[in-house]
């Protein structure tokens, strides 16, 4: 029998693994209790490695009948007061929006890892940034959710841990938006025990099954997502949106590179931002006044911060492996800015440093 190590201590060290493995290890590090999932490429190794690790750390796993079930079972796990998570991609991401919309309405702190693949439809299992809109606004509502877009294995590890904390602190469904490249690439990173690093883990608590006899020791908990009147719903949604907006400034994260005097500002997220930053470094050596802005949170979006950089620049270049999904977020954020926006869109295809350099030189 494997020893049940209920208080996992991951020895801090450099390791050489794939992004999907980094997520599974981060789940252990974040003291996640249970994962619910359904096979889909390129997400599979998150489950492969979670199921290898789970029994060693006394954790749970359930392979469900589809992504609808995996999403709702994750909702159930969280309602029961556990740090529950799921992971999916592409068509699975579509199916999980059903449950994530319930999580938005009821402020259920689910954690979901998305490994973007090509779309629309079944498309490819490889890579894209085409699930940006879906992940940010996939429900039949207002996108009351938090989305971290990672760019490296270290970030997959760091932000998966952070996602549990953010979710349970603010009580909004939280997403880690990766992609097939990040899932499958091999990179070195440091895995660590967040507790040993002094990172406080926000405790989970049950929504249901709170103990005592309901109706005798305490009132029963009755949770719903159905309402009758439009004004009644308006109040509910208003409250959700206000609560979200009130904490958005605490949640937003972004990264700037050489933006102070940048005449050309490249905007990219996720793994494409690595190419953007690589391009900035090389273009700067050649004397180009170029900078880059990377939203790390796509929901909430670092609008004010981007706007400041955009207003200083003479031109912007939005680069993404999708046909304008990031650009929609950008134009919404900087509405009124007169800085012209050029684009480099490659839906479903990777973008290299060289391609960005040549796009900048062609501006």
């Amino acid at each position: 029998m494997a020893e049940k190590n209920l208080e996992p201590i991951i020895k801090e060290r450099r390791v050489f693994i794939t992004g999907n493995e980094a997520v599974a290890w981060a789940g252990v590090a974040a003291r996640a209790d249970i994962m619910y999932g359904y096979p889909i490429t390129p997400q599979n190794e998150i489950m492969h490695y979670w199921t290898r690790l789970a029994p060693k750390y006394g954790k749970g796993f359930l392979q469900t009948e589809d992504e609808i079930s995996a999403g709702f079972a994750t909702v159930g796990g969280v309602l029961a007061g556990k740090r529950a998570f799921t992971a999916t991609s592409g068509p699975g991401n579509i199916l999980m929006q059903d449950s994530m919309s319930m999580a938005e309405m009821m402020r259920i702190p689910t954690v979901m890892i998305i490994t973007q693949r090509g779309g629309p439809s079944t498309a490819t299992v490889i890579y894209s940034q085409q699930e940006t809109t879906l992940t940010c606004f996939g429900g039949n509502g207002e996108g009351i959710r938090i989305v971290y877009s990672t760019a490296s294995h270290q970030e997959l590890f760091d932000y998966t841990i952070k996602a549990f904390n953010t979710a349970w602190k603010y009580r909004f469904p939280t997403f880690v938006l990766g992609d097939g490249y990040q899932s499958k690439m091999r990179e070195s990173l440091t895995i660590y025990d967040p507790v040993e690093r002094g990172i406080e883990l926000v405790p989970a608590e049950p929504f249901l099954g709170k103990g005592g006899v309901a109706g005798l020791d305490r009132p029963p908990v009755h949770l719903r997502n159905t309402y009758n009147m439009e004004d009644e719903l308006y109040e509910v949604v208003r409250e959700l949106v206000d609560a979200y907006n009130a904490v958005a400034h605490e949640i937003v994260e972004y990264r700037e590179m050489e933006t102070e005097d940048a005449e050309i500002l490249i905007v990219a997220h996720g793994i494409v931002s690595r190419a953007a930053e690589g391009a900035v470094a090389r273009l700067r050596k050649d004397g180009y006044k170029v900078g880059s802005f990377r939203p790390i949170t796509l929901r909430p979006f670092p609008a004010e911060q981007l706007r400041k950089c955009a207003d200083r620049a003479e031109k912007m270049l939005v680069v993404e492996s999708a046909e304008g999904q990031l650009k929609k977020l950008v134009t919404d954020a900087i509405y009124g800015s007169t800085t012209p926006i050029e684009t480099l869109f490659r839906p479903g295809e990777s973008i290299t440093v060289e391609e960005i350099i040549s796009a900048v030189k062609g501006l």
């Binding site: 991951i10 060290r13 450099r14 390791v15 050489f16 693994i17 794939t18 493995e21 290890w25 490429t41 390129p42 190794e45 492969h48 290898r52 079944t122 299992v125 490889i126 097939g180 490249y181 499958k184 690439m185 091999r186 990179e187 070195s188 895995i191």
Partner: protein, 220 residues
Amino acid sequence: MDKLREAYVGEYASGKSEIAINRALELHRQGRKVRLVDLDLVEPFYTLRPIKKELEDKGLEVIAWNTGEIIGLGETGTLLKPEMKWALKYGGDVILDIGYGVKGVKVINLLEGLEDERPLKVYAVINVARPMTSTVEEIVEYISTLGKVDGLINNSHLGEETDEEIINEGAYIVTKAAEKLNTPVIATTVAREFAHLVGDKDCMGNPVKILELHMKKAFW
């Protein structure tokens, strides 16, 4: 001259394919006929497919799908190409690149000709920078799940951050694990870029083999 039959197995992203390719090319340089077979049935990424042509141009016979040849890899499953089933029936050396997975070496059960008089040697590739094979105990446990293994290869590295420490740590741990498993350490492998960090032998006296890296461009 006896024809060699070797299979390379190991944990996910441990470097099996890279080592299999280098071994095949090494044998080819010795003037031998070599066939390299992609038997990774779990992972649709980082396989021999994308560099099949390049390897064939170098003189190897490569049995692998062409990426464009089948639709929906990773969606339809990883398919066994009929030629793979007969891969061992060959007049030259055969190198099998076996993917990771809980079934370990059992994938060779899919091949015809195992009962042949020439033994199939199975070598396990270990990178101690991978957290599930980072200690002697973990390696011993892992190898015992694989089935028959004829030797270990220390391929410990940290990608671009590889240093002498990780190579030596790997050599030490893998050698200790091999002692417990009563199996030899075939080699320590080091990428060309880091060859200067070691000599002909690693710190435990195992032979060192230098790897030319081919898999970086083999994503899909």
